[in-house]
Symmetry: C2
Subunit: 108 residues, 2 copies
DNA sequence: TTTGTTGTTCGCAAAATTACGAATAAAATT
DNA sequence: AATTTTATTCGTAATTTTGCGAACAACAAA
């Protein structure tokens, strides 16, 4: 068994994907992408979960780099992190768009 | 707090993303996408983890619909599930490609 | 300064994930 | 029939995730 580590690329893909791996976080991203202004409360209103849980999901998305938040006391404004969003867009497009084996002998 | 459920679309996105949310599974998908033939042993060789763990990851990818396996005794051939792969491609492209708020007042 | 609003953090519990070696299953080979 | 090859399943442990209410922090408003 070849003890090969995962590449940075693979780790990064997985990081993005994991952050998107919960319906609440997909909903948050979708909402943020569609909103001009995006306070915590607005996001909480959209979701069927407690605010503590919303806060947790936001933290994960922030740590994955997909969103950013800034305090606008006493509120907090959340937004898509556009730079990383674009990066994710490219990475997923490249990953899922790579040519798949077309041989008849394989997997029909 | 509006007790709104997540949409089928959101659940499906999250399901795909979650399946891709581990570097081992990213590596598996990458390997499968690049190979004509893809037996369990070949995949195991590529990864720094025990076969039981590989088997588990393959099971998750299969259950998420991203891959398929068929027995070719005593081996098992694994392949990308092309139909769902395409679906994922479209869903991620649509999701990450959706227009993001461009207002100056928002998130600069 | 007291009160109210807004979110985060804490503490906890339940469930899911990740990982491994051992045991097992299934079929080909000897 | 016994053995070998190949991969899954079992049993277990450690860690992470998900979720909640309560407590807390930070600042605005009265």
């Amino acid at each position: 068994m070849v003890r090969k580590n995962y590449s940075e690329e693979q780790e990064k893909m997985a990081r993005f994907a994991k952050a998107m791996g919960h319906p609440a976080r997909i909903a948050i991203l979708q909402f943020l992408a569609s909103q001009e202004c995006c306070f915590f409360g607005d996001i909480h209103e959209e979701l069927p979960i407690a605010k503590a849980t919303v806060s947790q999901h936001l933290k994960e998305l922030k740590e994955a780099g997909l969103i950013q938040g800034e305090i606008e006391a006493p509120k907090v404004r959340y937004c898509i992190n556009k730079e990383n969003w674009k990066l994710a867009q490219k990475m997923f497009a490249d990953f899922l768009g790579q040519p798949i084996c077309k041989k008849e002998s394989c997997c029909e």
